[in-house]
């Protein structure tokens, strides 16, 4: 799993509390990570249509829709790739005891089990929205946390 998912999720949570575009460099120095690499993750989010990029002076990134409508699964798929983690090689069709091709119309038992497990994983991630995460953060660290971060982002807090 790509470790950059954590950064992207943090950025999305932070972006819920701002209305002005925020540059990638500011977000990077907010949690002390490599600015260039975070930019790459944000580009992935932009390609997926989760955030809108505004170029030029006073530009940056903004969410395209309400945080309630952005699920964690969307972010994970955008950064880590939409393909399933377990890819079948179809080794049942190889070797001396290979299964005849006409018997391979449906995925085999192993592939089905893996696909089912990943489906539950996706459902669990889909049931959590970025707004839920923001709410939990507020309840964990106090109600002023998000507003404080927003203010720090707005002002030239260097």
């Amino acid at each position: 799993m790509s470790g950059g998912v954590e950064w992207a999720l943090h950025c999305c949570v932070v972006l819920t509390s701002v209305t002005e575009p925020v540059p990638a460099a500011r977000l990077a120095q907010l949690h002390a990570v490599s600015p260039s690499y975070l930019a790459k993750q944000l580009q992935a989010l932009s390609r997926a249509g989760l955030v809108r990029s505004v170029q030029g002076n006073a530009g940056g990134y903004v969410l395209t829709r309400s945080p309630e409508l952005i699920t964690v699964l969307d972010v994970v798929e955008a950064v880590d790739g939409p393909g399933p983690a377990f890819s079948c090689t179809e080794i049942r069709q190889r070797g001396p005891m290979a299964a005849p091709p006409q018997s391979c119309t449906v995925p085999c038992a192993i592939s089905r089990a893996m696909a089912g497990a990943e489906a539950t994983w996706r459902d669990a991630l889909r049931s959590v929205s970025v707004a839920d995460l923001a709410r939990d953060v507020e309840s964990d660290y106090g109600s002023g946390t998000l507003a404080g971060i927003s203010a720090w982002l707005g002002t030239g807090g260097r």
Copy 2:
């Protein structure tokens, strides 16, 4: 995800139908894969205690317990590593707006969501045993499939 998990699962399913030890090389030529690499996966299974290795002439691998008691999760953890796929970097404690350490006694919302999703994934894999896979294979390709493979393994089917 390590692609070798597929090979290991196939080997476990095949091993359900034999009572004599089977060498790694035979399993490798059964589904036409690299013998040395499959040996590595089997070593991982042996280290995890899922299969027992018998050395010397007429040696090989055998299951240590009933297939009903071996879950898919066991195989996955043995081959792919037991650690969670998503590892938290604790970036909330870095940067100018870092959360104070006394507030970080519990995992944050993001980490909790990911951990919950992985827990469901593990439960789904834990609920499927190798015996279930073998049963499904029999029902998919006919009742004689497993016996045929067992015979091919026993005889010097080259």
